[in-house]
């Protein structure tokens, strides 16, 4: 499956905006990504291994936090994961 990398994290993926991985679940896909690009791990996950609060990961159009099976959700080669840090603020 393909994983889309946001601009600020591409310095850890050799400038690639999309990384292809072999995986059968969402969790495996993220593991494969961070195994290949270990520097990414600390930018995506807290020390306890949880996704950082401001990092959103979407499986196609669904937030993986709200998938009933979470990271165990099965994926196929046509699915896409997008990593999107949040955009917010205010005066």
């Amino acid at each position: 499956m393909r994983i889309h990398i946001p601009t600020p994290l591409r310095i850890y993926t050799d400038k690639q905006d999309t990384v292809g991985v072999e995986a059968s679940t969402v969790g495996e896909a993220l593991d494969a990504l961070t195994a290949r690009h270990p520097e990414l791990r600390k930018h995506l996950f807290s020390e306890e291994g949880k996704l950082r609060a401001f990092v959103n990961v979407y499986l196609n159009d669904e937030d993986i936090r709200y998938l009933p099976e979470g990271e165990a959700t099965r994926v196929n080669g046509k699915d896409e994961l997008s990593i999107i840090p949040s955009i917010a603020g205010g005066r």
């Binding site: 889309h4 946001p6 601009t7 600020p8 310095i11 905006d17 999309t18 600390k42 930018h43 950082r52 401001f54 990092v55 959103n56 979407y58 159009d61 937030d63 997008s82 999107i84 840090p85 949040s86 955009i87 917010a88 603020g89 205010g90 005066r91």
Partner: protein, 150 residues
């Protein structure tokens, strides 16, 4: 430095006037080079903070994914974001800083006073991680397009 055309610069400012007294927000697409974020397009986004739109903004991740896809198809990257400060200076706030996570991207803020755009400033989110990030004042260069020849 943030480089954009006069047309894009004006479009960002107009957006803030249109949504006044609420904050507007949007995404800047373009290319990043050494020390320069060059904007090719500004895409308007919806402000999901309808509970506090006068002083907060948030772009839905679903909308961002669509914008990121659109950028990819056009060979562009997301290189920054913009929002407005209704009746407030064009300076980043503690909230802006705490919620800024796109390192290397430009955060453009326009002050809108009584519905009229005033200052527009850009701040580069510098640093390499959440722990050492910092906003730096970033000069804005406005390119005036040459008039078409007859």
């Amino acid at each position: 430095m943030l480089k954009l055309t006069e047309q894009i610069y004006n479009a960002i400012r107009r957006h803030g006037e249109e949504t006044y007294p609420h904050e507007c927000c949007g995404v800047l697409l373009g290319r990043s080079a050494q020390d320069v974020n060059e904007v090719e397009d500004a895409v308007r986004a919806g402000n999901t903070r309808t509970d506090a739109a006068h002083n907060r903004y948030n772009i839905a991740p679903q909308e961002l994914i669509g914008i990121q896809r659109q950028a990819r198809e056009r060979g562009l990257d997301i290189i920054g974001f913009y929002h407005s400060h209704p009746d407030h200076p064009a300076q980043w706030s503690e909230t802006d800083f705490a919620e800024a996570h796109w390192l290397g991207c430009s955060y453009v803020i326009t002050s809108v006073q009584n519905g009229v755009a005033q200052d527009t400033n850009s701040f580069l989110l510098a640093g390499t991680s959440e722990e050492n990030k910092a906003f730096e004042n970033e000069p804005i260069e406005i390119a005036v397009l040459e008039a078409e020849r007859c």
